[in-house]
Symmetry: C2
Subunit: 344 residues, 2 copies
DNA sequence: CGGAGTCAATGAACCGGTTCATCTGCGTTT
DNA sequence: AAACGCAGATGAACCGGTTCATTGACTCCG
């Protein structure tokens, strides 16, 4: 005999309690799998919940508990195909643990990063994973240190107090550069993103380390930083190959910008491989299937996503762990046909 | 003279009210830009808020208001590079309007879709945009019709009551097929995704319409459906070209699966262009820069994302609009070198 | 000059759960 | 038989905002 409940207005714990003939506290305990409920009452409550089509109100739970079971992920631009892998894996891990993912784009601007941190705390978000445009930015650092919830940095470092998941870009760039130097290249142009952030900074370090090891002083005119998009890479490539003394190799180290570089070369009537060697800073279908296939640095973004989520979960659980743990996934160089010995 | 407020525990409206010497209701009105507050009091309250470093608790607001200012986006798999564009634009529009984006992956399974809808209503999410694995699925349809918040379908149709944003895949496929037929191809293989969902269904319709218009009966053995990933495309391509009577053209209509197809061809020692023509169902850097460049169907996913967000905002605002509005972005065929006249 | 009308400001009740001090009933101990 | 212990159930208070009926001050007009 189903009691008549107005289907229009939502069913609340009170209604369930009345239907099951128990106190609201008991309904709450059933909802939260509290052990001190007899099987009989538990079943009666569950029956009542099914009967009435009850659904908890997570906002009410959040308010009382002071936490939302939300995890925010803010990255500079989702429009980076490989980042989708990171997010996908992180979301899967978080959902498994009962968390929901909030997504926002920082557009790589400090003000937005700060505003987002504020928005996240207003929402009582339980944890944050994010990129930063500049780890040294005063206001951003202040905002981070005031954040009441754990924050994990995605491919960023230099903030000791925070956990981070990074890729070993330094080693990747070192390998790529040594490879080109080994092929006889001396005029190697490098395209990197924003040097204020970890990935580009460490790629440049790796590049310089390889040059130093080979006893070579890189030509500063062949360095292009602030290459963040495919369009930037197009312009940088076009300007590089137009130099009086053009480079013999291009190291397109910025993420997902290979397309712009190749487009520029094609436009300028240049072919990769014989005239000019190319190494990509991140792997892709394009790198693999281009003619010739492009030598590229690869690392496991899916693993980064999983690790980021797992580390953040541990931190949110409040486990007693040392602050500022870092996890680095290795990079490897996949040598393909686009990097050829220097033609004499 | 800043009052001494225990920095440890959070500041609440009550504290702000006390500091400013006003009632809590007044603080709330200031927070919500209610017009009936004198400038003097408004300023006093704002000063107090700044003084105490006050931050509203959005969970408390959500609970009282019954809405969360969250919009959920659930798609089958974020690991589809071009979808990132959709999400990016949608997020920008929603954030502008004060909403935060929740993200989840349906993994293209009806149970997950239903579970997510339930999770979203529990969170008092204000609106949902999602893909469906199968528009005709009974339980999914039931879950959708019971959803208390507006739901917008992403590239899906057949549910009259819901708003939707689609691409004109039928026309794209028709154009591509006519193009191949015009080049003399008669044995055209088609790789599509799940025919239970709109995009693949309408691509197949377009394909068939073009064949019918040319008076040609397509060979059913050349159709491969359920191609959802690059790996699926690899297998489908390998099996197609191994047929006794292989196709002379491949229409890789499924989204972002071109890589798998090209990888298979390369493995089988086939070259695109002379031996076999290829048309891709979605454009990409790979299609544009491959040798030969791949003829592809293109449409504006960024615009789809913007429109989806805008339509959902209108609906959430409760505007009096007819139910089930549909917006279709056009598709175009970009003809490149991979589609060549049939060699005789 | 008094009554009606207007506009700000007030603060108690409310949103829908969870928590915890308190109570109940039953078995154990002495 | 009285005292005790304890598991299980109860329900009022609470989380931190918003809402709205009410109050108070002030203006306008006959």
């Amino acid at each position: 005999m189903p009691s008549h409940v107005p289907q229009s207005q939502t069913v609340k714990v009170k209604d369930v309690a009345r239907e099951a003939g128990v106190a609201v506290g008991t309904v709450s305990r059933v909802l939260n799998d509290h052990p001190a409920v007899t099987r009989e009452l538990r079943e009666r409550v569950e029956r009542a919940m099914a009967q009435l089509g009850y659904e908890v109100d997570v906002t009410a739970q959040s308010m009382r508990a002071g936490r939302s079971r939300l995890v925010a992920c803010a990255i500079r631009d989702f429009d980076i195909p490989r980042f989708a892998l990171f997010i996908k894996e992180a979301e899967a891990v978080l959902r498994e643990a009962g968390y929901t993912l909030l997504l926002a784009s920082t557009t790589n601007r400090p003000e937005v990063e700060i505003a987002l941190l504020r928005a996240f705390r207003r929402r009582r978000v339980d944890g944050v994973m994010m990129t930063l445009s500049d780890e040294q930015h005063r206001d951003v650092r202040a905002a981070l240190s005031e954040a009441p919830m754990p924050v994990l940095l995605i491919d960023r470092d230099r903030i000791d107090a925070l956990d981070r998941v990074t890729a070993d870009h330094r080693e990747g760039a070192r390998l790529a550069t040594s490879h080109l130097l080994g092929l006889g290249h001396r005029r190697i142009a490098m395209l990197v993103g924003d040097l204020k952030a970890f990935p580009s900074r460490s790629r440049l370090e790796g590049f310089r380390a390889a040059c130093a090891a080979a006893g070579i002083a890189p030509d500063p005119r062949l360095l292009r930083d602030d290459v963040l998009s495919s369009e930037d890479a197009y312009r940088a490539t076009a300007s590089l190959v137009s130099l009086a003394e053009p480079p013999t190799a291009l190291f397109v180290a910025a993420m997902d910008t290979l397309g712009g570089c190749l487009r520029a070369l094609r436009t300028m009537g240049l072919a990769v491989g014989d005239g000019i060697s190319v190494v990509a800073g991140s792997d892709s279908d394009l790198a693999e299937l281009y003619t010739p296939p492009i030598t590229a640095i690869a690392w496991d973004l899916a693993a980064m996503g999983r690790h980021a989520a797992t580390m953040l979960l541990e931190r949110m659980r409040g486990d007693e762990i040392e602050r500022g743990r870092g996890l680095t996934v290795p990079t490897e160089l996949i040598i393909r046909g686009s990097s050829q010995p220097l033609a004499i």
